[in-house]
C-alpha cells in the first residue's frame, strides 16, 4: 500500500507507526486538571525557561536575606552541574561517576591561578576560559581510554578517577614527581587553598562574599548554557547523542561516529562542570579536597537532581535541582523539617491510599494508636515521655502528647530506625487490607524515629533521604518527573 506523503495521518518516514501515534493513545486526565495539563503542554518549553530566568533574576530584589541568596547561588551551581551531567548521562547515556572531580579540578585550577598560593593573580577573563579548557582536556583524557568500554566499565573507571582526584588533592601538600623532584606543596593538602581572588573584570571587582553578584554571574552562565543546550538538544549532535543512548550498536550501524560523540559528550559535560567550579571557588574564597570526594555526597546529590527531574530533560534539570536543594536546605532546621515530614507523609497517604474510607481509617487509626501507646508508656515508664519534641508551637505540643519521647532516645531510637526500615520493606510485600492495617504501626514508628533520631541529626538524615529518593524513584518512575518514558521496541 502506497502512502500519500501529503496525508497528515500517514506515518512519517523513519518513524515507527506505533511510536508516531503514541500521543493519541495517551490516557489523559479529564476535567479541569486535564484542561490545564493540555494548555501547559502547548506552551513551548523556552517560555518556561524564560519564566524561570525572570523569576530567578528578580529573587534578590525581593529579599535582603543573605541566607536565601546563598542558597539560591548553591542551587544555581547545582543546576549548572546537573546541566553538564545531563549531556553525559542524560543525552549520551554514559554513566560518568567521576563527574564531581571535574568540578573540583576547575575549582582548584581557579584557586591556583588566582590566589596568594603561588602568588599568581591572573585576570578573571583569562583564567575562566583557561580553566574550562583544561577541564575539557581532562575530560577528553579520562574518556579516551574508556570510550571503547561498555557502560559499566566506564562507571568504574570514572568512579575511581573521582576518588583518585580527591586523594591526590587531599595529600598534595608534599607532592613530588614520583620521587624525582623535591617535594612541593601543590594543593595545600587538607588545608585547601584559602584567600582566593574574587572575579574582577576590567577594573570592576566583586566584593568578598558578595553572594548576590555571584548569584547573577551563575544565573547568566546558566541561562546562556540552557539556551545552548536547548539548541543542541534539537541539533544533529543532540539527536545523535540520544540515539547513542538508546542503542549504541544500532547508532553505529547507522553511520553515527559513536566514539567521537562519546568523547565530545564527556568533554562538554566536564567543561560545564569546570565553569561551575570557577564560580564556586571564587564565591566561597576557599577550596578543600574533601568537598569533592564521595563521602561529601555531592556526586549522589547531583545525580539525584538529574534523575528526579528526568535525565535528558532540560526542564527536569531546573526542577530537580530546585526540589532537591531546597528540600535539603529545609532539612537543616529541625523545626521546618518536621512540618515538611508530616505534610509529606499526609500527602503521600492522600495520593496513594484509595478509597478514602481506607485513608480515613489509616489516619484515624494512626492517631488513635499513638495516643494509646503514649498512655501506656507514660503509665508504665514515665521517663519514656520526658523528652522534648524538636519543633515548637501547636505541632510540637500536639506531638508531645502523641509520640513517645524518651529522655535518652539514642539507643532505642537507633533500634527503632532499623525496625522502621524493615517494617517499610515488609509493607511493600503486603497487599490489600493487611497492608493498610500494617501501615498504622509503621507510620507511628516512622514518627517516633523521626522525632527522636532523624530530626535531631539533620546532616546525616539529609544524605539518608537522598539515598532513599534514588532507590524509590528508580523503582517507581525511572524516567523522573519530567522525563519521557522510553518506548521499548523489540
Amino acid at each position: 500500500m502506497a502512502t500519500d506523503p501529503t496525508d497528515p495521518n500517514a506515518p512519517r518516514v523513519g518513524v515507527d507507526e506505533w511510536v508516531a501515534s503514541h500521543e493519541q493513545r495517551r490516557v489523559r486526565r479529564t476535567g479541569l486538571l486535564g484542561v490545564v495539563e493540555r494548555e501547559l503542554e502547548r506552551v513551548p518549553s523556552p517560555a518556561f525557561y524564560l519564566a524561570f530566568g525572570v523569576a530567578a533574576a528578580i529573587l534578590p530584589a525581593l529579599t535582603s536575606n543573605g541566607y536565601v541568596i546563598k542558597v539560591g547561588l548553591d542551587t544555581l551551581l547545582y543546576m549548572l552541574l546537573a546541566l553538564g551531567l545531563n549531556i553525559t548521562v542524560g543525552y549520551a547515556g554514559l554513566l560518568d561517576l567521576g563527574y564531581v572531580a571535574f568540578y573540583g579540578f576547575a575549582a582548584y585550577g581557579y584557586a591556583m591561578l588566582a590566589s596568594p598560593k603561588f602568588g599568581l593573580h591572573w585576570a578573571t577573563v583569562g583564567v575562566i576560559p583557561l580553566v574550562v579548557l583544561a577541564t575539557v582536556i581532562l575530560g577528553f583524557l579520562v574518556a579516551l581510554p574508556s570510550r571503547r568500554l561498555v557502560g559499566d566499565y566506564l562507571a568504574i573507571v570514572t568512579l575511581f578517577f573521582g576518588e583518585l582526584f580527591a586523594t591526590v588533592y587531599q595529600n598534595g601538600e608534599h607532592m613530588s614527581l614520583l620521587g624525582f623532584t623535591k617535594a612541593k606543596d601543590v594543593t595545600g593538602g587538607p588545608n585547601g587553598i584559602p584567600n582566593i581572588d574574587q572575579f574582577h573584570v576590567f577594573g570592576a571587582r566583586i566584593g568578598t562574599l558578595n553572594y548576590t553578584a555571584y548569584y547573577y554571574v551563575a544565573l547568566i552562565f546558566f541561562m546562556v548554557l540552557l539556551l545552548a543546550m536547548y539548541l543542541v538538544d534539537r541539533s544533529r549532535t543532540g539527536r545523535a547523542w540520544k540515539s547513542l543512548r538508546e542503542d549504541p550498536l544500532a547508532a553505529e550501524l547507522m553511520g553515527i561516529p559513536v566514539n567521537r560523540l562519546k568523547l565530545v559528550a564527556f568533554a562538554c559535560g566536564a567543561g560545564i562542570a569546570g565553569l561551575a567550579g570557577t564560580v564556586f571557588a571564587a564565591a566561597n574564597t576557599a577550596v578543600f579536597a574533601s568537598e569533592f570526594d564521595f563521602t561529601s555526597g555531592l556526586l549522589i546529590i547531583v545525580y539525584a537532581m538529574l534523575i528526579l527531574g528526568g535525565a535528558g530533560s532540560l526542564g527536569g534539570v531546573i526542577l530537580g535541582a530546585l526540589v532537591v536543594n531546597v528540600s535539603l536546605e529545609v532539612l537543616r532546621t529541625p523545626g521546618h523539617a518536621t512540618w515538611v515530614f508530616y505534610v509529606l507523609i499526609a500527602g503521600t497517604l492522600v495520593a496513594r491510599v484509595r478509597p478514602w474510607r481506607w485513608l480515613a481509617l489509616v489516619i484515624a487509626g494512626t492517631a488513635g494508636f499513638g495516643f494509646v501507646v503514649h498512655a501506656i508508656v507514660s503509665a508504665a515508664w514515665p521517663r519514656g515521655v520526658h523528652g522534648q519534641a524538636p519543633v515548637g508551637g501547636v505541632l510540637g505540643s500536639g506531638l508531645g502528647h502523641w509520640v513517645i519521647l524518651p529522655s535518652n532516645p539514642m539507643t532505642i531510637g537507633n533500634v527503632a530506625f532499623v525496625f522502621l526500615v524493615l517494617a517499610v520493606l515488609a509493607l511493600t510485600l503486603l497487599r490489600g487490607w493487611a497492608q493498610r492495617l500494617a501501615m498504622i504501626p509503621t507510620l507511628y514508628l516512622a514518627a517516633f524515629v523521626w522525632e527522636n533520631r532523624l530530626a535531631v541529626e539533620p546532616s546525616v538524615t539529609r544524605l539518608i533521604l537522598v539515598g532513599v529518593i534514588l532507590i524509590v524513584l528508580m523503582n517507581a518512575r525511572p524516567q523522573g518527573l519530567l522525563g519521557t518514558s522510553r518506548v521499548e521496541i523489540v
Partner: protein
C-alpha cells in the same frame, strides 16, 4: 636488596589482596548473573565488619574475652557471613528485583542509592567515629601476635589468619560452584539467563542464592580485615569496595579465579607502591594498572572477550 621491606610488603599485599579478592568474588558473581554492578556490595562488607565488632562486644570486649579466640573467630565469621548474606538478599529483593528488565542505567543508580543509604544509615545508628577490634589484645589461648621471618620481616598471625581463611573460603566456593546442583544452576544462569529459565532452572532462586553467597563472602572479608587492620567505620565499605571492583575488572568480571587474581594483583600493587614509592601515589598506581588492563585486555586478565549477539 632490602629483604625485610620486600617480605613485609609481600605479606601485607597478599593479605590485603585476599580481602579484596573475597569482596571481588561477590561483585563478580552478581555481575556474571545479572550484569549489574552492585555498588552496595562494599557496604555489605562494612556491615559484616560491624557485626564482627558487635560480637566482640557481646563476649566482653577485646580486653577481657569470655571465650577462647578460636570460638570467637568462628562466631564472628559465622555471624558476619549470615548477616551479610541476609542483607544482600534483602537488597536484591527490595532494590534490584523490579529493575531486572529496566534500562541498564536504572539499577546502577539504584545501587548507588542503596550504597549511600547504607553508609549514612550506619553513620546514624553506629556513629561516625572509628571503632577498633583491638585484636592485638586478645589473649587466650593464643595472642594474635607477631612472629619474625628470616631477614627480620615481622609478620602478624592476623595476616596468616586472613590468608588461610581466604584460601578456605575460595576453595569452598569453587567446590560449591563446580560440584553442586545449585552451583551448576548458577553457571547455567550466568551463561544465559533465559535459556536457563527455559531448562527449568528457577532463576529467582539462583539469583537469591548468588546474592547470599557473594554477600556472605563480603561479610567474612569484613571480619578478616578487622582482625588485621583493627578499624571499622561507616564509610570503610566505599574505598574497599572500589578496590575490589577494580580487582574484579582487572581479573575479568564474571570470572571467579579472575576475581582472586585481580584481588591479589591490586593488593600487591598497592602494598609495593606504598613501600617503595609513596602512599599518595598508591591510588595512581592502581589506576594505571586499571587503565592499562582496560586498553590491552578490556575483558580482564582471565576474562573471555564477549561476543555481542544482536
Amino acid at each position: 636488596m632490602n629483604w625485610n621491606l620486600f617480605l613485609t610488603e609481600l605479606v601485607a599485599g597478599i593479605s590485603h589482596g585476599s580481602v579484596y579478592a573475597l569482596i571481588a568474588l561477590g561483585y563478580s558473581m552478581v555481575y556474571g548473573i545479572l550484569k549489574l554492578l552492585n555498588f552496595a556490595h562494599g557496604d555489605v562488607y562494612m556491615v559484616g565488619s560491624f557485626i564482627g565488632f558487635g560480637i566482640i562486644g557481646v563476649f566482653g570486649g577485646a580486653t577481657n574475652l569470655s571465650v577462647s579466640v578460636w570460638v570467637l573467630l568462628f562466631l564472628m565469621l559465622l555471624g558476619a557471613m549470615l548477616g551479610g548474606g541476609l542483607l544482600g538478599v534483602m537488597i536484591e529483593r527490595f532494590a534490584y528485583r523490579r529493575l531486572r528488565n529496566a534500562p541498564r542505567i536504572a539499577p546502577l543508580i539504584t545501587a548507588l542509592g542503596v550504597s549511600f543509604f547504607l553508609e549514612n544509615a550506619a553513620q546514624l545508628v553506629l556513629g561516625a567515629q572509628y571503632q577498633s577490634y583491638n585484636s592485638f589484645s586478645w589473649k587466650s589461648p593464643i595472642a594474635l601476635d607477631h612472629f619474625t621471618l628470616p631477614a627480620h620481616a615481622v609478620i602478624s598471625y592476623a595476616e596468616v589468619i586472613i590468608i588461610v581463611g581466604t584460601i578456605v573460603l575460595v576453595v569452598g566456593l569453587t567446590l560449591f560452584v563446580q560440584r553442586t546442583q545449585l552451583g551448576k544452576a548458577m553457571r547455567a544462569t550466568s551463561f544465559d539467563r533465559e535459556a536457563a529459565a527455559m531448562m527449568g532452572i528457577d532463576v529467582d532462586n539462583v539469583i537469591v542464592a548468588t546474592f547470599f553467597i557473594g554477600s556472605a563472602l563480603a561479610g567474612a572479608a569484613g571480619v578478616l580485615n578487622g582482625i588485621e587492620y583493627q578499624q571499622v567505620w561507616p564509610y570503610m565499605g566505599f574505598t574497599a569496595g572500589l578496590y575490589a571492583f577494580i580487582a574484579a575488572v582487572v581479573g575479568g568480571i564474571g570470572n571467579l579465579p579472575g576475581a582472586v587474581l585481580g584481588g591479589l594483583t591490586i593488593g600487591l600493587a598497592q602494598a609495593f607502591s606504598i613501600g617503595y614509592i609513596s602512599s599518595t601515589f598508591s591510588d595512581a598506581v592502581v589506576f594505571a594498572i586499571l587503565i592499562a588492563v582496560m586498553i590491552v585486555r578490556p575483558s580482564g586478565l582471565l576474562g573471555r572477550a564477549a561476543v555481542q549477539k544482536v
